[in-house]
Amino acid sequence: MIVKTDIDTIEAYLTDASNLKGKSNKLIIPENKDELKTVIKELFNQNQNFVISAAGTGLTGGRVPKDDTIISIEKLNNILEINPEKKFVRVEPGVTLNQLEEAISLYNLFLPPNPTEKNSSLGGNVVNNSSGSRSFKYGSIRNYVEALEIILSNGETFNLNRGNNFADGNKLSLITDEKSQYNIEFDEITPPNTKHSGGYYLKYNMDAIDLFIGSEGTLGVISEIKLSVAIIPEKVLGLLVFFDDEYNLLEFTEKIREKSLITNKVNIDTNSDIAARLIEFFDEKSLDLIRNKYPQIPAESKGAIWIEQEYSENFENEILEKWFEIISKYSLLADSTWVATNEKEHNNFREFRHQIPLTVNEIISRNGMRKIGTDTAVPSYNFREYYFYVKEKLTELQIDYVVFGHIGDSHLHANIFPKNEAETKKALDFYEMIMLKAINLGGTVSAEHGIGKIKKNYLKMMIGDKGITSMKKIKNILDPKNLLGKGNLFD
């Protein structure tokens, strides 16, 4: 076990990718699971509050300590098992997405949701219910969590397998390996009809494991994860479609979204129709941002959509023709649609996508300001209203911005880059307006980044006092001393 108390070492653990900064005077780095358990028990006996730190890529200050002792799980980073026959993996929580992808690709396997930040840990992904570009077809990581080992703040352990422990209505009964029984009676929280990462999952007859997915490190420490994985599809088609008109882009998106929701249910081997697994959006400003790196972007583009489809070689011709047909209907730039069919070309597209947040971050640090970025999503039937509201407010703001993101899930990131304090203030007002609008339209204030310490107010606006009380009740039962992840989700 490594224990650090010098400020220089601890410094690196006081923030995450949100730039929120905290305070702590002790960092503990257990080197295996037993050490992790021992530390937790000790802290429990000392009534010392603690926070789990993983890769620190969180965008909401989740791991940022508030005078907590920091437990970093960075050394719990072993892949314990890869089972290609049964298509699952077992990992320690500190394994990163990069590490997992590299290891399982040798077995022709992949983890479908695909969160963008590859340095993030799987433990972090599970407690934030992360999602990514392919979540349009595959949903968030929740759908892939098969089993979890969770250490409670008193050091006792739950081993939960999906399908083994359901709530009876609103009553959950959980037994630790040490034979302590926890009886939980909860009030349901209805989640928005969108992709969502904001607060506990509480649904009648729910599977107990779902309570811990998305719990943002407040209910227990994830110490082992079993995930189901999928076979890499035979063929993947990538398209980067440029549009000369914003309205046509939106109409095209709606058409292919609607269609793909149906065709994605058809077996790839028999499907000859368009079926997008990923639908990503770049507005004109996003394209402008990277035009000098990509002079091939057609000059007339008012926006672009990136699509991926899994398909069988037998139907390649039909599928290409169908895409061309529908693209030609909505874009005068159809002939300029870029195509990727092999790994290298797909990587080019991923790089293209990646260049946008990267360039945004460069500008932000040049301006010496904080990035203001939204993570809101709304139900698809309200998307247009939401989209034009965001655009209108951004235009009024007169501060540099880009809008891009997971348009398949009606989930966009508006990134604003203020140049000074006055602009930052205006941008924050905008941020609040967008949050409220998303709530009004039945959407979420957090589609994938979580609530952490910086979006608590908005979560409250969204689920009300009743929702917060419902969560606190559970927190009280599982962590009665309130030691774990203090200040995440609620105060």
Partner: protein, 248 residues
């Protein structure tokens, strides 16, 4: 304009390379192959010349049957025809050049474009061999190309400046990064590419001029050392800068 573009099939730059059991070739299992990145500039330049002057672009590759995939990529970028000189054995630069030369003698292209080097063996030899075999002028590592009528002006980056050369068609040009920005395959071109034929040819067998006698993976040296600012570590830093890096 009759344009010939030579492309080579090379392992993807991100692939981990292992030496095969024979010790003289790489283990190709699990290796993904791509169009040699420098050849993409040659393809793009060929397409631009066709767009300006009309004519046809033919891509040629000397390689195994699997190299059809790379020829398909060239066709998808907009090349009109493709030729595969099919061989399954290992070959040297001379063999490649000799076989391209044989096809060129029939085709009589106005210009032959290649990448400056193949990133697998990095021999840089094919363009010059080809020029010699066909008795044509050639300019290598070109970063800007202008053709007016028969006159060819080629720019090369040289240390601290540019070198500008003039020659005449027919000629051979090898492409440097920066010559252009290669296009992404476009949807209509991909669809058209499917019906474009790939002509297969038997190779002319020649004795290799060079053969590989051994391959080795470089041993991985630890390159980083983590030291802090304690007195002992500072001494260690000074010592290694002096004795290992020899810079102080």
């Amino acid at each position: 304009m009759n344009i010939l573009v030579c492309i080579s099939r090379v392992p993807d730059t991100t692939t981990r390379i292992l030496v095969g059991g024979d010790g003289v070739s790489i283990d190709t299992q699990g290796v993904k192959f791509i169009v040699n990145p420098y050849d993409e500039y040659a393809i793009e330049e060929g397409l631009r010349l066709r767009e300006k002057n009309g004519g046809t672009v033919t891509a040629i590759c000397v390689g195994p049957d699997a190299a059809k995939e790379q020829l398909r990529t060239a066709l998808a970028m907009g090349v009109d025809k493709a030729v595969l000189v099919k061989t399954d054995k290992y070959f040297d630069s001379y063999f490649a050049a000799k076989n391209i030369a044989e096809v060129s003698k029939e085709m009589k292209p106005d210009i032959i474009l290649l990448g400056r080097q193949s990133i697998d063996f990095d021999s840089f030899q094919v363009p010059s061999y080809l020029a010699e075999l066909l008795e044509l002028p050639s300019v290598s590592v070109v970063s800007k190309l202008t053709i007016e009528g028969n006159k060819v002006i080629a720019e090369r980056d040289v240390e601290g400046g540019k070198e500008i050369l003039e020659t005449e068609l027919p000629c051979i040009i090898s492409a440097q990064k920066g010559l252009n920005e290669p296009r992404y395959p476009k949807l209509p071109d991909i669809m058209k590419a499917k019906s474009k034929p790939i002509e297969e040819k038997q190779p002319v067998e020649v004795e290799p001029k060079v053969s590989v006698i051994g391959m080795e993976i470089p041993s991985r040296k630890r390159i980083g050392k983590i030291l802090a600012d304690t007195d002992a570590d500072i001494e260690e830093i000074v010592k290694s800068l002096h004795e290992e890096a020899k810079i102080i």
